[in-house]
């Protein structure tokens, strides 16, 4: 180390090496810096022992703390469930008709329903619940089987035309053409009449003839003025909404050989709380109806109130 000298420009001592005129300044690190480096090595040893770290052929070392990313996820999911358990318990004991009286619970149910809808219902009704040909739009104010919370819940639990469910929504329109109940000409006439109900066609001789046929064959379910009947799930023919398109061909085809949609009974696939959530969500889409107030309603109200009190 004979070449040590003080560098003039930096006023710093050199370490004394020299390679082709290149020298190195002696600027030592502080000693404590070295100790922090050693400390981090010690920490890493502890870390390797405590957590999964060293890769092997079939997997990494387990670590003595037993931590795993799956375990962490499981814990987080459990914590989530724990958080929701109160809402779930509340929903379980709250009858659906009591839900509007509990806005916070209603909102939670709607949020849960939105998630369940995405999993179970979008396949037919679409992501926006707008339906499609043959699948009802759930956003509008037209309901085949009723649009209050109870009716929606009933439809969800038992489905529509679900084989093997006694309480399923059941209705069947006769195949007037296929079974020879009406002649093709009569079908054309009644089609004309049906289309006048919603103003899609002007009154004509055909529709005049069709009116009589409607009176005799259709009014029993669809009503004398064609406004439908929810008891039979008979669609309102006088409004702007059509399950299977509202043009001449589609209406005639339906009279000739009707199509009947099927909705599964969700009561044996989903738990009651999820069904309540879905009910609340579907009801909230903009077409939900308030409970009608028939004569017996007051009594049912007090009864379910008593139930709710008992449950609490």
């Amino acid at each position: 180390m004979a070449n040590k000298r003080v560098d003039e420009a930096t006023n710093t001592e050199t370490v004394g090496h020299e390679w082709d005129g290149i020298e190195e300044l002696n600027t030592p690190l502080p000693r404590w810096w070295l100790w922090t480096f050693y400390a981090s090595i010690v920490f890493s040893i502890g870390y390797v022992i405590a957590y999964p770290a060293l890769p092997g052929i079939h997997g990494a070392t387990q670590g003595v703390l037993g931590w795993s990313s799956r375990g962490q996820l499981d814990k987080d999911l459990k914590a989530q469930q724990e958080e929701r358990s109160k809402i779930v318990a509340d929903l379980a004991i709250t009858p659906i008709e009591k839900l509007p009286g509990k806005p916070a619970l209603m909102n939670a149910a709607k949020a849960g329903g939105a998630a369940a809808f995405k999993v179970n219902c979008v396949q037919c009704h679409g992501a926006g619940a707008a339906g499609s040909d043959g699948y009802p739009n759930l956003n509008d104010d037209d309901w085949l089987w009723g649009g209050d919370l109870k009716a929606i819940q009933q439809t969800l639990i038992h489905g529509i035309r679900q084989p093997g469910d006694d309480q399923t929504r059941m209705s069947q329109m006769p195949a007037f053409g296929r079974d020879g109940l009406l002649t093709p000409a009569q079908i054309q006439d009644v089609t004309s009449y049906v289309l006048t109900l919603s103003g899609k066609e002007q009154k004509s001789a055909a529709s005049q003839r069709g009116a009589a046929i409607f009176e005799a064959n259709c009014a029993v379910c669809h009503g004398p003025d064609g406004k439908g009947d929810r008891q039979f799930g008979a669609p309102n023919l006088a409004d702007a909404i059509w399950l299977y398109a509202g043009n001449r061909e589609a209406v005639a085809a339906q009279i000739n050989n009707p199509r009947h949609g099927v909705m599964p009974a969700w009561g044996n696939r989903l738990d009651p709380v999820t069904i309540k959530m879905l009910t609340a969500y579907v009801h909230s889409l903009g077409g939900g109806e308030d409970f009608a107030e028939p004569a017996g309603a007051a009594q049912t109200e007090t009864q379910s109130e008593a139930e709710a009190t008992a449950a609490e």
């Binding site: 001592e13 370490v15 004394g16 030592p28 000693r31 992501a127 926006g128 619940a129 509008d140 702007a240």
Partner: protein
């Protein structure tokens, strides 16, 4: 530091690591020391007192003057309340702080480092604790060299206890900026505060204890990036602490100078400038990374110059440019004149225009806001009577500390009416009224229904808040129809 040490002999092995040379800075009094005292007192007072200042904001908002309410995502600073989407105000403040530092640095060098940096303030505080327990420079040096005995252990323990108390007070005060100070203070001592509060206090106590008590100038020299940045920002026109070597060199004691008049410079090589330096450097080696420009060496040298009957300012604030001029025998420029130059004026202009722009924004900001999100799936719904319905989610923002009634209206679409989720279509009209809770955003889902003969078009939601200002907002949105 880059101090030239005697060249080691060959048998001394070269080490890559160096032990820290402890600093025992001597007590000094002077105008810069008094300035340092003043700034230290102001900084500490601001830090410790601020969270306890109360500020009445009415019943719906916290009454703490400065509060970073992370849980509710609000930042309160006296009469200003910032919501997360207004974070640009905080960004603006940070930019102002940055440019403010550029301004100060280009004008008076590392003044931030020397006076106001927390590391400097707390190091200074801890060095006073040293002086209180162990005496001044020489006594502390003797104690440092002395073997460990009962007396040394007792002194050290007492000193470190005080270090810890100061550190605890420092770390403890931090959390009060994030919650109601009196409540948190009570909760903290009754053991019911959030674990994160205790963890924060512990971590900050330990960092203060270690960084202020033991690391000190090494934080500035090895850890802090700011000295490097500042070194790059200094130019030949920046005022920095300068040893006027043309006046001081060659150094010689008073006696020597008396014997050989004219042979020696003004520096009597008394080493007082080194003795008082809180980072232990020798300013006579020129500007260096270890110099935080606290100017205590100016105080020390001025005192010595006065005692030896020489003019003050052998070590003084000077620019490199001025130093050259002075060396050539010209009179120095006045400091005030040095500070005002294009670079500093530009910084000041940028700094103050950002500040003014923020003040303008603060003064003119509206506390009412409407945003509308349209349902896109489905884009429209055909109703049974043939009318067309579109759904919108309206967010009404009330940024005032009181509940306010807000009127929502529709402009456009002849014949259209609206109703909200929580009411029936039979109550639909062209306006809705909602009361938005204090300091909250309320979400309202609104259905707009228009007669069948409407086509796709734009229309406007209007929002009008009650109150003297009659603040309002509007949002233009689309109405979709089947034909569109």
């Amino acid at each position: 530091m880059n101090k030239p040490e005697p060249i080691k002999t060959e048998d001394q092995p070269l080490s890559l690591y160096a032990k820290r040379e402890p600093v025992f800075n001597r007590r000094i009094d002077g105008k810069f020391r008094r300035l340092k005292w003043g700034i230290m007192a102001i900084c500490l007072a601001i830090y410790w007192i601020t969270p306890w200042i109360r500020w009445d904001r009415g019943p719906y908002a916290p009454n703490q003057a400065v509060l970073v309410d992370l849980a509710h995502r609000r930042f309160y600073m006296f009469s200003i309340e910032i919501w997360p989407q207004e974070f640009y105000f905080v960004a603006g403040l940070l930019i102002m702080a940055g440019i403010g530092l550029f301004l100060v640095t280009s004008a008076v060098g590392r003044a931030w480092c020397g006076y106001a940096c927390p590391q400097t303030v707390w190091t200074d505080l801890f060095q006073h604790v040293d002086r209180f327990f162990d005496g001044d420079r020489n006594a502390r040096f003797r104690l440092y060299k002395a073997p460990w005995g009962p007396s040394k252990i007792a002194r050290r323990l007492a000193k470190w206890t005080v270090y810890l108390l100061i550190s605890f007070a420092t770390g403890g005060a931090w959390i009060f900026y994030f919650a109601d100070a009196p409540t948190l203070h009570h909760a903290f001592w009754s053991g019911t505060a959030a674990p994160v509060a205790y963890a924060t206090v512990f971590v900050l106590t330990m960092t203060t204890f270690v960084l202020g008590g033991f690391m000190r100038e090494q934080v500035c020299i090895y850890m802090c990036p700011w000295p490097r940045i500042q070194t790059a920002m200094l130019d030949e026109k920046s005022l920095i602490v300068t040893y006027k070597d043309w006046r001081g060199e060659p150094r010689g004691s008073v006696k020597k100078a008396e014997k050989n008049p004219g042979k020696f410079g003004d520096c009597i090589d008394c080493n007082q400038c080194v003795a008082v330096c809180p980072t232990g450097i020798d300013i006579r080696e020129g500007p260096q990374i270890g110099c935080i420009t606290c100017a205590l060496c100016i105080d020390a040298c001025d005192r010595v110059m006065a005692e030896t009957g020489r003019p003050r300012g052998l070590i003084d604030y000077a620019t490199l440019e001025d130093a050259e001029r002075e060396k050539a025998g010209q009179p120095p420029t006045r400091h005030l004149k040095l500070i005002w130059r294009p670079r500093t004026i530009l910084y000041f202009a940028v700094w103050s225009s950002i500040g003014l722009a923020m003040l303008f924004l603060l003064g003119t900001r509206v506390h009412t806001d409407l945003t509308v999100a349209k349902d896109r799936n489905p884009p429209y719904i055909l109703m049974s009577d043939g009318s067309i319905r579109n759904a919108y989610t309206l967010r009404l923002r009330n940024m005032e500390g009181r509940p306010r009634q807000m009127d929502i209206g529709i402009e456009g679409i002849p014949g259209a009416v609206m109703w909200s989720e929580d009411m029936g279509r039979d109550q639909a009209s062209r306006s809705l009224t909602r009361t938005v809770p204090a300091d909250e955003t309320q979400s309202v889902r609104v259905y707009v229904v228009a007669p069948a003969d409407n086509t796709e078009q734009e229309f406007t939601f209007t929002l009008q808040a009650e109150g003297d200002a009659r603040e309002s907002d509007e949002a233009e949105v689309r109405f979709d129809t089947p034909e569109g």
